[in-house]
Amino acid sequence: MTDDLPLRLSRDLEGTFPDVVASYQDAVFTTALRMSGRREDAADAAAEAFLRAYTALRGYPAERIAALSVRAWLLTIVLNLVRNEARAASRRPAQVPLDRSAEVDGTEGPEAQAERHDGQARLGWLLTELPEAQRTAVVLRHVVGLPYAELAAAMGCPEGTAKSHVARGVQRLRALVPEEAR
């Protein structure tokens, strides 16, 4: 159960942090993976997000921790990490544009190549082509499965704005995915 997680975390950070990792590692990893489209970096970004969270929690007063929406807060952290990494990568010269890397990366294994040709992998790639706000909203809503209130908290925007990002993102994906899968 994660209902009383913030309260337990505020009372015993070290004892409760393992529960935070266990409860949210899949959501944080999936977010990193689907936002970046880069499988090889997603686990590192997810681990780094938990470490940033851990260090922040060590400095927060108990009342602040008790009031945290832990999952939304963790997802904000990993979203920032992935965004900063993408920016840093785009500034590096001689680097393949981030969202194309899977196509031209010569080191891609046979398994990944096969996967790229199936419809799901294509959908994952199309996601990384969406404008960032739409991609974030669609990933958090439909891939991670957040309720709108939490999604808005993670994105730091009003709920109505989050909803419209989701709607526009899904609409665009529908226009792009193959006919039979709409």
Binding site: F17, P18, H142, E180, A181
Partner: protein, 250 residues
């Protein structure tokens, strides 16, 4: 082909974190016997990240845990067993076969530590040697500072780096522990310091024509009648000596 709604297809893009994900967040820790007393050792999935004598923490594991978490920003949990090869490395004084997680230090420090790892048990090198060997001969002080920050002392033997005159110099856990570690490795500190006081930083063999740092395994084999004391590399070269290939004094 059947029609799958797009939200179902999106939901199917969710994936669990890879197996062992938590191990990339946590460090494990153990207490093990070291050459001059027990040690706390912390390690991640990439390698050993921190070593500290238990005495430095007053034998209080809680203090060690709190210090580690603050310094490295990483949670710790007790490990079921020590990393493979750790006890053997501590017994033999050879830390070269272990994996280290040195993400907490910068590029320069990593070069200094990698070089220091090469210094064999029972031998010492000057700070200036480390600086020269990594290609920054002027960065002697910086090399000393990097060694002072060494997160994995004893395994990466920063205690084997001393001043050019043989004085043992500073140590992160106090100068006495450095002396104790070197004596446990049977380094002849008194002999090296006696030479230092005579401004003899090298010794040569008049039979082989090779000169070494005094603690070099080859220097220690020179018999008394053939041992020549040399002030510096220039004097050694002038007298026709070439630097030893093992300890690389020049």
């Amino acid at each position: 082909m059947t029609t799958v709604p797009i939200d179902a297809r999106l939901a199917a893009l969710a994936e669990p974190a890879p197996a062992g994900f938590a191990a990339s967040v946590y460090a494990g820790w153990v207490e093990v016997d070291g050459p001059v007393g027990p040690l706390y050792v912390a390690f991640t999935d990439r390698g050993i990240s921190y070593v500290c004598p238990t005495s430095w923490m007053g034998g209080d594991a809680g203090r060690f845990l709190e210090y580690f978490r603050g310094r490295f920003g990483r949670p710790l949990r007790p490990a079921a067993r020590a990393p493979a090869g750790l006890s053997a490395a501590l017994r033999s004084g050879r830390g070269t076969g272990l994996d280290y997680d040195l993400r907490s230090v910068g590029e320069f420090d990593r070069k200094v530590l990698a070089k220091t790892l090469e210094i064999p048990r029972g031998e010492v090198r000057p700070y200036a040697w480390v600086a020269r060997e990594i290609g920054h001969p002027a960065a002697v002080r910086a090399a000393g500072s990097a060694l002072g920050r060494n997160p994995v002392p004893i395994l990466i033997p920063c205690h084997r780096v001393v001043r050019s005159d043989g004085a043992t110099g500073n140590y992160g856990f106090g100068p006495q522990l450095k002396v104790d570690l070197l004596r446990a490795e049977e380094v002849d500190l008194d002999g090296i310091q006696r030479l230092g006081r005579r401004r003899a930083h090298y010794v040569g063999s008049d039979t082989t024509g090779v000169f070494c740092y005094p603690s070099c395994t080859h220097a220690r084999r020179i018999t008394d009648g053939h041992r020549v004391e040399l002030a510096n590399a220039a004097a050694a070269a002038g007298a026709g000596y070439r630097p030893c290939r093992h300890c690389r004094p020049a």
